[in-house]
Subunit: 207 residues, 2 copies
DNA sequence: GTCTATAGGGCGATAGAC
DNA sequence: GTCTATCGCCCTATAGAC
């Protein structure tokens, strides 16, 4: 993944102390965002909630946007570590699982939505890079999964894997948004429909 | 739909002049947003671009958020008027058509994304009301379309229309954001895949 | 009724003090 | 290396001019 490492390694000293402190701030920030989402997230409010000063925050993070991006990245990384998805899961299944997990931390979904919205505007390079990278990474991984499932007959073979990958991601993102706004929206139900129609008709005679 | 009419009808006078001016501002604002999207959209910048004063804007719109919501609502209304969709179009077809139209005005899609992101946060009542109403209205309309198409055999009958409606909306929204970030994403292609898998297998023996 | 001028409180970013 | 002080901009609210 290579990350944004060029800037992260600040050469000369600042080894332990600085990086540790930075990580502490990041960890605490994840909790804060998970609770309250993207609202009340001025640098001053975040600093207050974390227990550091406004200036300290800007010392470790060049901009507010960079902080938001890094918080989300760190939370994503942490989530991947705590629950790696088993080999055999279906592509839609992976997204369903991810969506289910996200339901427990609406603030992070909201943060994600904020970042994507920012990425669409010009003049937000950090957010845009984050979103672009994330989509292409997930799209590529999902497309590979789907191709494998097509070979094993669990996904219709007459569909372009790339197109399906984009579709599954879009459905997952869009449904999470709808669900956050209206809890009567059946997120897993709709994802289930998608999974069903993507599987070969022979495999499920009528079911 | 009843709209937000309680406040809109300001009783006593203010008939022509004010409402006309307000509409002029809205019309001009649509153009501005279509061009530049949600960026550079401080009330002062918008006022400048439109050719009115900052104060004039706040006279007609109670808050910045309300202005954004009304601009998007007005643009949506205008789009519906200029290109009403013919009776027979498929549900996915309607969304495809809408997506194709949106491609010519990326700024409005971006504005939409901003509004939805804001709606997910607390403390943005106007945006939330807009998003909630919009989703439930479109969902209901689409579900009705889908049920009709199920009766005429153009959509698989073994799928819950509500679930499909949410899914189609999500796919459309999600794919548009992916496309805005990366033009190599094949929006219409992915929507085509969705349409294909939603149609009954018998109708399309293999094709 | 329509709008201009102005003030208040908060923001992100930055320069310079410990 | 850490953080306080400050700058310019923002939205909102209000007072009063056309």
């Amino acid at each position: 993944m290579s990350e944004t490492a060029p800037e992260a390694s600040k050469r000369r000293g600042s080894y332990a102390k600085g990086l540790v402190r930075r990580q502490q701030i990041l960890d605490r920030a994840i909790e804060v965002f998970a609770e309250r989402g993207a609202e009340r997230t001025s640098l001053r409010s975040i600093a207050d909630a974390i227990g550091v000063s406004h200036g300290a925050l800007t010392h470790y993070f060049t901009s507010r946007e960079q902080l938001l991006v890094e918080v989300y990245r760190a939370s994503e990384r942490r989530a991947d570590e705590t629950s790696p998805h088993p080999e055999g899961t279906s592509a839609v299944g992976v997204m369903t699982e991810s969506a289910r997990r996200n339901r427990t931390v609406p603030g992070l979904v909201q943060l994600y939505s904020t970042l994507v919205a920012a990425a669409l505007e010009e003049g937000h390079p950090d957010a845009r890079e984050f979103a672009t990278q994330r989509f292409s990474r997930i799209r590529a991984g999902l497309a590979a999964d789907i191709r494998a499932q097509q070979r094993s007959g669990r996904v219709r073979h007459d569909l372009d894997a790339e197109l399906v990958a984009s579709l599954v991601i879009a459905a997952s993102d869009g449904l999470q948004t709808q669900w956050l706004l209206d809890e009567t929206v059946d997120l897993e139900g709709s994802l289930g429909v998608l999974e069903r129609v993507l599987t070969p008709p022979d495999t499920t005679p009528l079911r």
